[in-house]
């Protein structure tokens, strides 16, 4: 069975390091939260075309994992990919411009929300097909080893994705080839509108790791520091050549599958949503940081204000950006 992680260090030097990590995690989470809440408002105001799968509530997972990665480490993401992109360092301007379908966007306005990428940051793309990023991460890890580099690949996927073939094939492939891949399941309890109990008989997705001969751990996905510790261990293990590993982060999406509010049947109870919101990952980290003296309230507020300004500036940049020229419709269908 998968192991539940709980580690705390009593070493003062480690605590100093932890303070830096907490600030890093906090900043990444605030950036995601503000990017997403503003994107949700823009969508509800009818200012963005297409679909948005927002990441609000799951910030601790992206932040915790990405804080354990280097720029040259690669990630593959999902349809709910903004959080991963922001946490990996993709520019907010390019992201908003893409949501607006502008030519200055991360995909030149050709991809939209579900295809945001930044090769310079090791962000190998969000993905509109559930589970499809898993084998691609395996390929990225293969390339790293082939070239003699020590970068790792992390693939994010949801609980629902662990029922699709690409996940199982990718996990087995990474395992048998011994590749440096970290499998991160963001279990938010729902595959679109179907609860986990309706799409698998397992309680813990991490138990699936055993089927491929890799370790699986379960971590509180609302606890950024816990996610970070688990990710740092898995990344170090993969980087050292010990092969792939799976992390299941139990988390929750505060918004709907798509957009902000559900339009139709109430597939989640108000009580359930309220219970999870009471464990808001940013509130949890801030409360701990203030309580143990890692950060003052004023310092944390400063992060929010600075990020609000940055988000506002990025939205203004996107709105002022030119639209793509229909004459360039065929740009980049082929190379060469």
């Amino acid at each position: 069975m998968a192991q539940r992680t709980s580690k705390k260090s009593a070493d003062p030097a480690a605590n100093q390091e932890t303070a830096q990590v907490v600030k890093d995690l906090h900043e990444r989470m605030v950036r995601i939260r503000l990017f997403e809440t503003e994107a949700g408002k823009l969508m509800e105001a009818g200012r963005l075309p297409g679909f948005l799968h927002l990441y609000v509530g799951q910030e601790a997972v992206a932040a915790g994992v990405m804080a354990a990665l280097r720029d040259d480490d690669q990630i593959t993401s999902t349809h709910r990919g903004h959080g991963h992109a922001v946490a990996k360092g993709v520019g907010l301007r390019e992201m908003y411009a893409e949501l607006y379908g502008r030519v200055t966007g991360a995909c030149l306005g050709r991809g939209g929300s579900m295809h945001i990428n930044d090769l310079t940051r090791g962000m190998l793309g969000a993905n509109g097909i559930v589970g499809a990023g898993v084998p691609i991460a395996v390929g990225a890890a293969f390339a790293a080893r082939y070239k003699g580099e020590d970068s790792v690949a992390v693939t994010f996927f949801g609980d629902g994705a662990t029922n699709i073939g690409a996940f199982h094939e990718g996990a087995n492939m990474a395992a048998i080839l011994g590749l440096p891949v970290v499998f991160v399941c963001e279990n938010n309890g729902y595959a679109e509108f179907t609860p986990q109990s309706g799409h698998m008989l397992l309680t813990d997705v991490a138990d699936r790791a055993a089927a491929y001969g890799m370790p699986g751990v379960i971590v509180d996905g609302m606890d950024a520091l816990a996610v970070h510790r688990a990710a740092a261990d898995a990344v170090a293990r993969a980087r050292a050549g010990a092969g792939p590993m799976m992390i299941e982060a139990k988390t929750y999406r505060f918004y709907d599958h798509q957009g902000v509010k559900g339009l139709r049947h109430p597939y989640r109870s108000d009580e359930e949503v309220a219970e999870w919101k009471a464990r808001d990952p940013i509130d949890l980290l801030e409360a701990r940081a203030v309580a143990d003296g890692t950060a003052t309230r004023a310092e944390l507020d400063e992060v929010w204000q600075r990020t609000r300004d940055e988000v506002a500036e990025a939205i203004a940049y996107a709105e002022a950006s030119p639209l793509p020229d229909p004459a360039d419709l065929l740009l980049n269908v082929y190379s060469g």
């Binding site: 995909c107 295809h115 691609i136 690949a153 190379s335």
Partner: protein, 341 residues
């Protein structure tokens, strides 16, 4: 446009070297691997066993397990591995053994490999080569005999090549590997053992350039893959009767060199398209539509399509023979076109 005068290298004693289709493929792949350290091969039984069709014979000995990778039977993960590795700068060659198996990995081909460059705003290229064996004629039945080029040629971002002989098996494979786009190389199973003249040095054949395999003035026959040889055999038969057909081998079906076809049809005024795939929705429909669009005033008869009937590929040899187009049906089709005017 290349023609029948295309240069073929001769051996020092003046006689051209002959090589089988599968050995020509193997030689091209080996030379491409020597040329570029970033080329590697992955697939089921490609390394230790050398491929079920002997496509990868001896490559493990020369290139070792780092560049020749045996994988589980996991086509989605295999193609995905190729996509991810290509996105990170390698030039993967992944083998799907039988083309029919693309059904289990179509997402990685169609939604990932093909679209990644476009969706990502041109941020990367996906120089991925997918090799696979297609075609009927070996009694392999409905799940091991299909020619599915129309599925793939329909997808923007993919390229698809159909080698028709040993020479093109080598040259198109080399070009596929050198190309910066995802390219599917559809080898033909029946042709694997057929011998042809093949230069010893590495060479590429430009993708998207048709080859006029035989010149003629009466009917233009556009033939895909193994049907090129059948069309040439029909041409010999028709020549005895005083009918000269021009045989065009597109070699690449995506991109498709229609200009060579149009130029030919403007001279012959009649066109026939033949492929192994079912006629309905096949490349023949696309080619016929484009010819009538570009050369309607030159046509003396509607463009004729010859393909398989709308049925899965049958097993029993008598049924399979009736299913796959052949030289007799091509010759008969040419005669029908000539009767129209």
């Amino acid at each position: 446009m290349t023609t029948i005068t295309e240069a073929r290298a001769a051996a020092p004693d003046g006689t051209a070297r002959k090589l089988s289709y599968v050995k020509a493929f193997n030689e091209g792949l080996a030379q491409a691997m020597r040329e570029d350290e970033n080329v590697f091969v992955a697939g089921e039984d490609v390394a230790g066993y050398g491929g079920v069709f002997r496509m990868f014979d001896n490559l493990l000995d020369e290139f070792g397990p780092r560049r020749m990778i045996d994988t589980p039977i996991s086509e989605a993960a295999l193609v995905g591995l190729g996509v991810g590795a290509a996105a990170r700068g390698l030039r993967p060659v992944v083998d799907l053994m039988f083309m029919d198996f693309i059904g289990v990995c179509l997402d990685q081909i169609v939604n990932q490999a093909a679209k990644m460059k476009y969706m990502f705003g041109g941020a990367l290229s996906v120089p991925l080569t997918i090799t696979t064996a297609s075609g009927a004629g070996l009694g392999a039945a409905a799940q091991h005999s299909q020619s599915l080029e129309a599925w793939l040629a329909h997808v923007p971002g993919l390229k698809v090549v159909m080698p028709s002989d040993a020479y093109t098996a080598k040259g198109l494979t080399v070009s596929a590997i050198r190309d910066d786009n995802p390219v599917v190389v559809m080898l033909n199973k029946v042709l694997l053992g057929s011998a042809g003249e093949v230069p010893e040095e590495i060479y590429g054949i430009p993708l998207g350039q048709a080859h006029t395999a035989r010149q003629g003035s009466d009917v233009t026959v556009i033939a895909l893959g193994r049907m090129v040889g059948e069309a040439l055999a029909a041409a010999d038969e028709l020549a005895v009767q005083g009918v000269e057909i021009e045989v065009i081998d597109p070699r690449t079906v995506q991109p498709l060199d229609t200009e060579t076809m149009f130029a030919s049809v403007r001279r012959t005024n009649r066109a026939l398209v033949v492929h192994e795939a079912v006629t309905f929705g096949g490349l023949g429909a696309e080619i016929a539509a484009q010819i009538q669009d570009a050369a309607f005033d030159h046509l003396d008869a509607p463009v004729l399509r010859i393909g398989a009937p709308f049925s899965p590929v049958p097993f029993s040899p008598v049924l399979e023979k009736a299913y796959v187009p052949d030289r007799a049906r091509i010759a008969e089709g040419c005669r029908r076109l000539l009767e129209r005017s």
